[in-house]
Symmetry: C2
Subunit: 227 residues, 2 copies
């Protein structure tokens, strides 16, 4: 019996990446989850990542420490207030973290190479999203092109490395439906940018709102902890 | 008087990146040096980076902690012996660190964005090098294309972000000559992959050999510390 191919899955502990982990497994991969402790305010999401990795059968869950606070410039890592007014408009919001997905994917690429994996999954979506540039399909495509020139593994040319973003064209409701079909328990996930010290979600930040709307469209209530 | 443009300079403390820092300054940039503590055996290079940053007038020298040892797979970070036989041949050597330049450039991109810098300098060269895939011009070009889709700064489109590799087509001797013309004191730099505990270079690893040959071609002796 041939062993399953390995895949790296970037796992924040939120709704999207939990769904992606379930998708990777359903596609027949042995998923290796990768999370980051990057000075995020909402570090409670790492506990969620651990619960999700376990529940959805990740073979291993690696957590890499990196300090993005050194550079500053984001409400997710600095003393900048997370907005709760829902008025994001057309601008890229203050919750944007400089080059975050580029950095995360770069560690994913390193991990893939040491595992011998040819697929790196990320929960990026350009529908119902916060307007971050590094969630758009053109970014993912350019990253994949670069990655295939970057490592010993890709240069050997056995096959192409794929940056897989299966949620790219799904709405939040479609993502949730896909996850429910695959048995994801969303009560284990955490999405809030500005949780209470006990991990309770605020219900009013951009991330909570997008999530709420997704469940509402399906006629469901978000099982995440609320005040 | 207009203030100088800022540039991020990836600085390992070795011969190449010291030269690049001098070039960035000579081109009229205010250089912000960026180094990494990544579990390298030759951590003595960080002390060299600090000396070089000071001597060559970096405005600031940031050191980011990242742990590449988690993934393993390199003689520079693991308990794999650094080769001293000079027999590298056509293969990518064991001193290759998975996705290292991709990761370093990604932090450089984040730093550039928070500084408002449009240039990121790296000492990559495809002449007299160790055969690492992430030192080739096609990699740098693909990285630059990706970077220009990745961040809030680049998406705003004020101008393009440049990944600058001014040593790309220079031999080691040409690099040294360029640095000497710009007043670089190479006795401050450290290149050895396998130094003694007191920081003395081995003189026989790939990095020491390339460096030696460069100085020899110019009829000079490497001023680095030797046994």
């Amino acid at each position: 019996m041939q062993s399953k191919p390995k895949a790296v899955v970037l796992l924040s502990g939120g709704l999207d990446s939990a769904t992606v982990l379930a998708i990777a497994r359903a596609e027949g991969f042995e998923p290796y989850a990768l999370s980051f402790r990057y000075g995020q305010r909402h570090e409670v999401e790492l506990a969620a990542a651990e619960r999700v990795a376990k529940a959805l059968g990740a073979v291993r869950h690696a957590v890499v420490d990196i300090d993005l606070r050194q550079f500053g410039g984001s409400a997710l890592t600095d003393d900048i207030a997370v907005p709760h007014d829902g008025a994001s408009g057309d601008e890229i919001p203050v919750t944007y973290v400089p080059a975050r997905n580029t950095i995360f994917l770069s560690f994913g690429l390193a991990y893939a190479e040491t595992l011998g994996a040819w697929d790196v999954f990320i929960g990026a979506s350009s529908v119902d999203y916060s307007g971050y540039p590094d969630c758009r399909p053109e970014f993912i495509e350019a990253y994949e092109a670069m990655a295939n020139l970057a490592t010993k593994q890709t240069v050997s040319g056995e096959r192409r490395l794929g940056i897989r973003a299966p949620l790219m064209h799904l709405s939040k409701a479609q993502t949730i439906q896909r996850g429910l079909d695959l048995g994801v328990d969303y009560s284990l996930t955490h999405s809030c940018y500005d949780p209470a010290p006990d991990g309770t979600s605020c219900g009013s930040c951009d991330s909570c709102r997008l999530r709420d709307r997704g469940f509402a469209e399906l006629g469901l209530t978000d099982p995440a902890r609320r005040p």
